[in-house]
Symmetry: C2
Subunit: 125 residues, 2 copies
């Protein structure tokens, strides 16, 4: 497999706070996001924190999707990393941002597996 | 919990190819790296691909560590993301790079949870 990959880092602000605290919903959103982008799901692991917040990952054949949610701040930090050229990580990131009702999204795409790179600034989604 | 976090993205080149294909060893290295940096391990999920390569994640109370290895290229792509100021993700990244015998390491640290940011270029580790 080629090393080249695309890694979308996104900051989701002003999300629906109830959704950010619902582990079952977040897991479903993430699996759906992976499938919608054409990825193959391999492992799923999510964790609910007390008193609030969810962390989780979906390992796909093409790398991973992760989330850390902070319901009390309406914020979620997400990563969508896909190896190869077949899949566009932005499709999954967009699905997640819309599903969590993010009102402000900042994101940056980092090329992976190609050696040293200059990383661009965060952009509005 | 505060949203502020530190996300180290590292590209490990010219690693030990046998180690990059050993799922049990990689899982141990990652759990050790998390503990060494002072993190609390919550979930562990690793997957071995055929004919080669390992993907995996350690979810910690403070966010996550991930890897995707490409033994045939001597390459591993790793992320260490820690929320808050208590833990330095570079400690875990250094442990992983040394354990996988990486000869060339490029990394960048991305601030998370603080709004839009300018991301610096990859640096030698």
């Amino acid at each position: 497999m080629e090393t080249m990959g695309r890694h979308v880092i996104a900051e989701l602000w002003n999300c629906n706070e109830d959704k950010l605290n619902d582990i079952n919903l977040i897991e479903k959103i993430f699996v759906d996001a992976a499938l919608k982008s054409g990825a193959e799901v391999r492992e799923v692991a999510f964790h609910k924190f007390a008193p609030h917040g969810v962390s989780g990952v979906v390992i796909i054949s093409e790398s991973h999707l992760t989330i850390h949610s902070f319901p009390e701040h309406g914020y979620a930090s997400i990563d969508v990393y896909t190896c190869g050229n077949r899949i566009d990580p932005n499709i999954a990131a967009k699905h997640i941002a819309e599903s969590l009702e993010a009102n402000v999204v900042e994101k940056v795409e980092v090329p992976r597996g190609k050696g040293p790179v200059e990383v661009k600034a965060f952009n509005k989604m």
